[in-house]
Symmetry: C2
Subunit: 214 residues, 2 copies
């Protein structure tokens, strides 16, 4: 009734065509890349547009505000990352020894600190920003809760007598190792230190698939 020209599809059903959906997705991907290597402080609508190879005006069409865009980018990231974590732990079988479990975790962190570094940096950018933005905090909480449940199941499968606490410990150790080694180039000795910490943690927690069940 009111809107005349080609305004943005703000509320209700956006009704995107296929081409529209592709562009929208490209914008979110570009945003994640920019956040990963320039940070949220360096994130501008123009930088996103350039990264995506789109005119500035396109961003206003698909996203009402920059904050909306950031929220959706975070949601996209958590969806993707949840799948990745699930896949990583799917490889942890009940026949594994503690060292095998530690090796899986080491590989996971190694990947995050090298090939997926941009994505990992973006993740922590989001987590910090969630401190100030309730909408991001909701996403962050939901994600963290889902992670803990999943890891809890794995811990249980590995014979933990307190899966919830073990999940909390494992997630914290992994997050801490990531953070602490983000500003350092990942040399072999660092990888060894990470491996040692994970081995010791997993071993001392008694997480191995061949443990007798209760």
């Amino acid at each position: 009734m009111s809107r005349s020209g080609g305004s943005a599809p703000q509320r209700d059903t956006p009704v995107l065509t296929e081409r529209g959906g592709v562009r929208r997705a490209a914008i979110l991907e570009a945003a994640l890349r920019v956040i990963g290597d320039k940070g949220l402080a360096g994130l501008s609508m123009r930088a996103i547009a350039t990264e995506a190879g789109l005119p500035l005006g396109a961003l206003g069409y698909y996203f009402k505000t920059k904050d909306d865009l950031i929220l959706e980018a975070f949601e996209l990231h958590t969806r993707r990352e949840a799948d990745r974590v699930l896949a990583a732990f799917a490889g942890v079988g009940s026949g594994d020894h503690a060292d095998d479990v530690a090796e899986h975790l080491t590989a996971f962190i190694r990947h995050g600190l090298t090939e997926a570094r941009t994505s990992l940096v973006a993740e922590y950018e989001f987590l910090i920003e969630a401190t100030r933005r309730p909408d991001l905090a909701r996403v962050s909480r939901a994600w963290r809760q889902a992670l803990q449940i999943q890891v809890g199941h794995v811990a249980s499968r590995l014979g933990s007598d307190d899966p919830g606490t073990d999940a909390e410990i494992l997630l914290s150790v992994v997050a801490g190792l990531e953070i602490d080694h983000l500003s350092t180039p990942l040399d072999p000795s660092t990888t060894q230190a990470i491996r040692a910490a994970l081995r010791r943690t997993v071993t001392r927690l008694g997480l191995r698939g061949d443990a007798e069940r209760l």
Copy 2:
């Protein structure tokens, strides 16, 4: 020879009077506060000036650029925090049980998530930014190394047979717990979960002062 007016004391000895030093320090404190509750993305010279109750021009006098100011603020923070960590662990005696050690760590995290929340958020802002800025990365690395050495000494005092690895684990767990609970208000059940994770970690690592020495 060249400078005429009251330009900034950029290179060589700045020659600050007492009043000048006070103002400089006030600016750094204000910057830390702003970073803590608006983030580096929300940090502007004007915001710092307002927070410090000073005119905008004062900032240009004491700091050549915004990046210089950020670097100095980070250095100030690490100096302060190193002292705080040292003080926290000074309370861990060799007669303590594992639960006492865990309680010290719980109190440390609790303080960071409540009273010192602003400072903690600022800390992680710096750590993420250090990913992109070599000067911040140097400070971050030096700080992290000093922490690990200190915590290693404590672990050794508590009977660890691998103090380096135990220090890495402890620092990571603490960092991870902080990060994971930053976007959540700290309710009693959360505190309990943190305590449980720390108890289990410390106990399983066998960190207690009454252990026999080698």
